[in-house]
């Protein structure tokens, strides 16, 4: 069976079903043990043994070093901040047998009494699990390396030297060299934190409850936090139950309007600027690009203060007699109009968003074949008609992927909301205000209020929603399916 699979052409392997692939993997494991040399057999227990057998000493030593290192770490359980790695960390993952009290003493630089830090227990538990996965991968790698040397010997070739292996890293296995830094960095600083936060959604980790109970400890509580979204039970259930759907609804409305206004606004602006015979194209473009170049915390805070209660615009409106009291454009005071704030953020967002589309469509507009317009003009089509029948379909056709990604981007448009309204007008008793998006709500809940489990639930739900949209649209698109054939 094993040899049959091996003879099959390479591209057929990808057509195997999932159980078949697992079967192949297992049979290749058994085959290596049975067929392999003594060195390969020994490699199953001692890393690098096969390499020593084939006189690949440096490689063998490196494998051995990894095995000894990981095993030592697992057995010795070194601890950081009183929280151990290794097998004790796996035990600690249950978050039982935790110790209350104690804390870091800045004077002595020591922990006064031993106490448990539940979040580090989870974190280090996951690090240990990752370490075990690495161990298994290296185990497989070391057997494969020895087995390859066996095969080389069989056909009369010499096993590769360490120098040859290194050289191969620059050619046939160049991707290994190039991807390793990113894989390690992303595993530590992106994947591990994400998995950790997902785990927090299944715990009781929030500062409010812990303060109420006077404890530093938290524990696992299964799906209760997710249940609270529907039932509203628990100390934070009320917030997440009552505010989730309104925030989600507004996030969608915002994303639709922000995407469409900036998209069509950008196309129109590009058409205006690229009009034949217009002078000062470059100057105009530079002015509009300013909102892309200037950091948003500067530009959006400038607008926020311009529109503020005592700012120039409200003063002007009062002086002109258009209003008696300052208008709460951005819903910064309680009682300000929510609808006005919503309209204002969409309008102000055009100010920062339209130039993006303008830049992008400028090039596309110039690439539209001129004879299309010529033919239309001969047929007596008006400018408006040409816009709707030629320009718009052409631009939309090319920029569909951009439309999708900018919709997702707008769902997560933190700056536009956070810097302008701060989520306001506030709902008394709730974190989520009238213009809060899922992301700004997530920010308030986790960073401001330290309600980590609630934040994690919001984050996971946000992910599920954006992932669904992306899957449905991207996976059907040409750009994804024909990614390979495009070139």
């Amino acid at each position: 069976m094993g040899s049959k699979v091996k003879k099959a052409p390479k591209n057929k392997q990808s057509r195997l079903s999932f159980p078949e692939r697992i079967g192949t993997a297992f049979s290749s494991f058994g085959k290596r043990f049975v067929d392999g040399s003594l060195g390969t057999k020994l490699s199953h227990f001692i890393f690098g043994a096969g390499n020593f057998y084939h006189k690949q000493y440096i490689k063998g030593f490196l494998f051995l070093l990894i095995q000894v290192g990981i095993l030592a770490l697992m057995i010795l359980c070194p601890s950081i901040n009183n929280t151990p790695y290794g097998w004790k960390a796996l035990q600690n993952l249950s978050l039982k047998n935790t110790v209350e009290g104690g804390g870091f003493n800045p004077v002595t630089g020591q922990f006064d009494t031993i106490s448990s830090d539940c979040k580090l227990m989870i974190l280090f538990g996951f690090v240990t699990i990752a370490m075990i996965i690495v161990y298994l991968l290296v185990w497989n790698l070391n057997i494969a390396s020895s087995y390859k040397a066996d095969m080389d010997r069989k056909i009369g070739k010499k096993p590769t030297t360490f120098r040859e292996d290194l050289r191969e890293l620059l050619d046939g296995r160049f991707h290994v060299l190039m991807l390793t830094p990113t894989c390690i960095a992303a595993a530590v600083f992106t994947i591990l934190p994400t998995v950790f936060m997902i785990a927090l959604a299944f715990t009781t980790y929030n500062q409010q409850d812990m303060n109420d109970l006077g404890t530093n400890l938290f524990h696992w509580n299964g799906l209760q936090n997710f249940r609270a979204v529907f039932t509203g039970e628990g100390s934070l259930g009320v917030e997440i139950h009552n505010r989730f759907l309104p925030v989600l609804g507004w996030t969608f409305i915002w994303a639709v309007f922000a995407t469409l206004t900036c998209y069509f606004g950008g196309i129109i602006l590009a058409l205006l600027i690229n009009k034949k015979g217009l002078k000062g194209k470059k100057l105009f473009r530079t002015i509009f690009i300013l909102t892309i170049a200037v950091p948003q915390f500067i530009s959006l805070l400038a607008v926020r203060n311009l529109l503020g209660e005592y700012g120039p615009i409200n003063t002007l409106l009062i002086d002109l007699g258009l209003t008696a009291d300052p208008i709460g454009f951005l819903g910064l005071r309680t009682g300000d109009s929510e609808s006005l704030a919503k309209v204002m953020v969409i309008i102000i967002n055009m100010w920062v968003g339209v130039p993006y589309t303008m830049l992008m469509t400028s090039g596309i507009l110039m690439n539209i074949p001129a004879d299309l317009y010529e033919a239309a003009r001969v047929d007596g089509a008006s400018t408006v008609k040409m816009f709707f029948k030629i320009t718009l379909p052409y631009v939309i056709f090319i920029t569909t992927p951009y439309l999708i990604s900018s919709f997702i981007g707008n769902m997560n448009a933190f700056n536009s909301i956070f810097l302008l309204t701060g989520g306001g007008p506030a709902y008394p008793g709730y974190q989520a205000g009238g213009t809060d998006l899922l992301v700004t709500w997530l920010y308030k809940v986790t960073i401001d209020q330290h309600l980590y489990n609630t934040g994690a639930v919001i984050g996971i739900l946000t992910f599920l929603i954006t992932a669904t949209i992306t899957l449905v649209t991207y996976r059907r698109s040409k750009a994804y399916n024909e990614e390979d054939t495009f070139q």
């Binding site: 979040k119 991707h175 992106t190 015979g277 217009l278 002015i287 950091p295 003063t315 992910f463 992932a467």
Partner: protein, 310 residues
Amino acid sequence: MSMTKTKKVASQSRNRRVSLTVTYAILIILGIIWLVPFVWILLSAFRCDYQSDGTFIGTVTSYFFPKHFGLKNFADLFSATYYAVPRAFPRWMLNTLIIAVVDCLISTFLVLSVAYCMSKLRFKLRKTFMNLSMVIGLFPGFMSMIAIYFLLKSIGLTGNPAHPEYSVIGLILAYSAGAGLGFQIAKGFFDVIPNALVESAKLDGCTNFQIFRRIILPLAKPIIIYQALMSFTGPWMDFIFAKVIIGADNPSYWTVSVGLYSMLFGQYSNTNLFTQFAAGCVIVAIPIVTLFMFLQKYYVEGVTAGAVKG
């Protein structure tokens, strides 16, 4: 016959002139709207007005144009002690510069290496890697932010009472570590480089490394500049991540945007600091905008490469 023709041409050119005038009018009005907030920040930065009792007015004022101009805000900004940090603003500028330069080098390298692999090499887990990076990218960044803080803190790279300066290293790691997963735009660019070029080099006996070094990199100048621009300007624009990672209680090692933002919001905020905030904004914005305007061509190329493919 010829009379009607000239008439037609004349009316056409008149139409064109009218439509051009309308376009100019619209663009000028829009241009003014686009500039007003920036002009206002600029004016506020140079505002030097005093109340009748001699106290300086640093708040947002109800009038748009200052009554007196001066450099007091800039002088104060550079000499003042903020949040118990003497001469804080120049410090923040230096911190941000260091972080931005290192982040720019690491991120650009990571992005280019991943993008090249995904675009021009074929290997077993390629599609898996691409799907995985897309899925991870869909998790909101704020979710893992606090976890990155816990992680860095556990290894002493932030919130370390003995070495508060380590948090700068922590922030650089946090900014650049995940950069490689954002390879899509650079990959879109590499995809356009014809495969025939790579294949003919391979026939000549070039290794993949040599192809990358001698053929791809020289052609990739626009995308290198785009990536460098993006990762260099990032730390100047970010006011959330930096504060969480470095810590609200560690103002000596803040970046400039965190410092400026904190003048208006949070426990240290003071409404009388608005003009100094504006002065700081001008100082931060000028180099970034200049850089942007010079490299505009590359920016447009990058944005288009990433977005309008397929």
